[in-house]
């Protein structure tokens, strides 16, 4: 390869307003420039309400910027319709949220299978084997047939990570995945993300309020009042 692969995420002048056209219109993100390279593990920090989740939702194609350009793997998404966004999201991006991540009607294994199943249309042995392998990687094989709701918070979050990795995404968006966990579980989930990042080369955006965890990332960006303030890149 003569040229480097395009950045996994590239934002240029991205703005986001809510309640556009209404009296309570508010701009939450004020012109964000951001680049995330392939294989980068980046912490996102910032005070509550500064716009971290809003930023992640935009990058995850769950929401659209009000202005600015957003590319995923070199593809400019501003002109995409919902179908194309959904497709790109399903194939390239994995999500881990803070709460309520699993579908309660399904078991741990079935939750991990969900994205694969939705993509393939029908269950098959390959899908089941892949889900079982992912669940094994997060150390939950003994719990694979448990209904999701019966797992502990830490276990649920590990299932969510396994599920986010099911489609082998290039980008993992984790919005305070450890915010609700005790230190031990939080460490376990973080180590898991770190390992995935290092073994699969998955780029990770990791929102956290925990400076200790943030310091273990490749770099940190800080979001304050809807703007990225100069991050101090840390290299291991």
């Amino acid at each position: 390869m003569t040229t480097n692969p395009p950045p996994v995420v590239q934002l240029q002048g991205v703005r986001k307003s809510f309640n556009v056209g209404q009296p309570n219109e508010t701009e939450v993100l004020h012109g964000i420039d951001l680049t995330l390279l392939r294989g980068e593990f980046c912490a996102v920090m910032g005070p509550s309400g500064s716009g971290k989740s809003t930023l992640l939702n935009l990058i995850g194609l769950l929401d659209r910027p009000t202005a600015g350009a957003l590319s995923i793997c070199g593809e400019d998404t501003t002109t995409f319709d919902d179908r194309a966004l959904t497709r790109l999201r399903g194939h390239s991006i994995g999500f881990v949220f803070q709460y309520h991540h699993l579908i309660s009607a399904f078991t741990a294994l079935e939750n991990v299978m969900m994205p694969l199943l939705a993509d393939a249309g029908f269950p098959n042995a390959t899908i089941t084997a892949r889900a079982a392998e992912l669940l094994d990687n997060v150390g939950l094989t003994p719990w694979k047939d448990q209904p999701a709701a019966r797992l502990s918070g830490g276990q649920q979050q590990r299932v969510a990570v396994a599920r986010a990795l099911a489609m082998n995404p290039v980008l993992l968006l984790a919005d305070e995945p450890t915010g609700n966990l005790d230190t031990k579980s939080a460490d376990a989930v973080f180590d898991l993300l770190r390992r995935v990042n290092q073994t699969q080369g998955t780029s990770v955006l990791f929102v956290t309020h925990n400076p200790a965890l943030a310091s273990r990332c490749d770099k940190i960006i800080s979001v304050v009042d809807g703007q990225v303030v100069d991050g101090h890149a840390e290299h291991p």
């Binding site: 769950l62 929401d63 179908r83 959904t86 579908i103 309660s104 079935e110 994205p115 199943l117």
Partner: protein, 416 residues
């Protein structure tokens, strides 16, 4: 389906079906209640429809076991008022003429013509007129029916209706009804003197006694051979009735009209002669249709309201699914399917309810002698129709909630 019993996902079910079934299973109470509601509605419809068609079928069977589907009769004698040059009426009061036994013109060729038409089973010529039967001091007025047994018995199976003796007729034999037999105190082998209106006399031997299931008919109706009746009623070589049966009894009126058109002889179908009954049936059918419509409507509202609640309850999970790359179309189908499945499930349960009600009706609503009031036929199509209609109703009802689910903004849904 392994889906409801074990954690294994069925390999034959597509993604949307799996999610829809799981969501329904998870919302046990809601699912059970709405299926119960749909079942009651469907059960009532199944029961009512079966009852109505049973009633109709029973009537039709009773009517048709004793008469032909179409009858051709010679034109009635009418008197027209005298007119002067077509306008002024001269003799305004017209007396109804006396009806004599008349023959159908050219009946042989007409019968042949009808036999060659499609969908015709039997054409049977007959002569009927009134006569007097004498025995000792007693006399009774009877209706003398001359028939060709081979043909007529294919229309009215007299052998099945015989109580005593046999239905075989020779030229000096006759068959009489049970009432007449007991009135006159006669039995098989006894001789009766019959006097026709024109004074012709004949002595006939009773060959058998029948029961037509109707007191009037058992008193008045008698059967002799066609030839005997022709000579007694002064109608040598002629017939006064052509009885016709057709393959599809409900096509009788259409065929009768065609016969009238092609032969010029007035043909009346059993449908025409039982018009009142069919008017009543069609009124019933209208009511039944209206009830079906309103039941379907309430089923639709019930299913829709359950799904609206379910969409709200599941909105966060819908958001998560969307974040995983599940498309709007897939979410839409998941909820449409739930509606269809609720309709189908309700219809299955309702068909069972209706079936049980019908069995109970058969055993509980009986005549004095313990036989069912009238036999109900279990029409599998009724059940198939109920299943299809209920599923479609469920699908339609699910449309608005499903659309709402598909249009949920995943960001808002996940934030909760």
């Amino acid at each position: 389906m392994s889906l409801t019993t074990s954690p294994q996902l069925s390999r034959w079910l597509p993604f949307e079906w799996i999610v829809a079934l799981r969501f329904l299973r998870e919302g046990r109470m809601q699912t059970a209640f709405i299926i119960g509601g749909v079942a009651i509605g469907v059960g009532v419809i199944v029961f009512m429809s079966a009852l109505l068609s049973g009633l109709q079928g029973n009537f039709v069977k009773r009517v048709l076991s004793g008469q032909s589907h179409i009858q051709l009769l010679p034109p009635k004698e009418v008197v027209r008022p005298l007119r002067q040059k077509g306008t002024a009426v001269e003799g305004a009061i017209v007396q109804a003429p006396l009806q004599r036994v008349k023959s159908i013109d050219q009946w042989q060729s007409i019968a042949a013509q009808i036999r060659s038409m499609p969908d015709i089973k039997v054409v049977s010529p007959a002569v009927s007129g009134s006569a007097l039967v004498l025995r000792g001091d007693a006399s009774r007025s009877i209706s003398l029916n001359g028939i060709e047994p081979d043909l007529y018995y294919r229309i009215v199976p007299m052998d099945e209706k015989m109580v005593r003796g046999s239905a075989r007729l020779a030229s000096t034999d006759m068959l009489i009804g049970t009432e007449l037999a007991s009135d006159l105190g006669v039995g098989v082998g006894d001789k009766l003197r019959i006097t026709a209106a024109n004074g012709t006399d004949n002595t006939l031997t009773i060959r058998g006694v029948f029961d037509l299931g109707n007191k009037g008919a058992n008193t008045r109706t008698t059967y002799v051979t066609l030839r005997t009746a022709q000579s007694m009623l002064g109608l040598a070589g002629g017939v006064s009735v052509l009885d016709v049966t057709v393959k599809d009894v409900y096509a009788a009126e259409r065929i009768a009209q065609r016969i009238t058109l092609q032969t010029g002889v007035k043909a009346d179908s059993w449908i025409k002669t039982n018009e009142q009954f069919f008017t009543a049936v069609s009124a019933q059918t209208t009511v039944n249709t209206a009830i079906r419509f309103f039941v379907a409507l309430s089923v639709a509202f019930g299913i829709a309201s359950v799904l609206v609640v379910s969409v709200v309850q599941k909105s966060r999970e819908i958001g998560i699914l969307r974040a995983m790359g599940i498309s709007r179309g897939q979410i839409l189908r998941v909820f449409l399917l739930q509606g269809g499945l609720l309709g189908l499930g309700g219809a299955v349960a309702g068909s069972m309810l209706g079936g049980i009600a019908l069995i109970l009706w058969q055993t509980l609503a009986t005549n004095a002698d313990g036989t069912p009031m009238f036999p109900l036929t279990f029409d599998p199509w009724l059940f198939v129709l109920a299943l299809v209609l209920a599923s479609v109703t469920g699908l339609v009802a699910a449309f608005a909630p499903a659309l709402r689910a598909a249009r949920l903004d995943p960001v808002v849904a996940i934030r909760g």
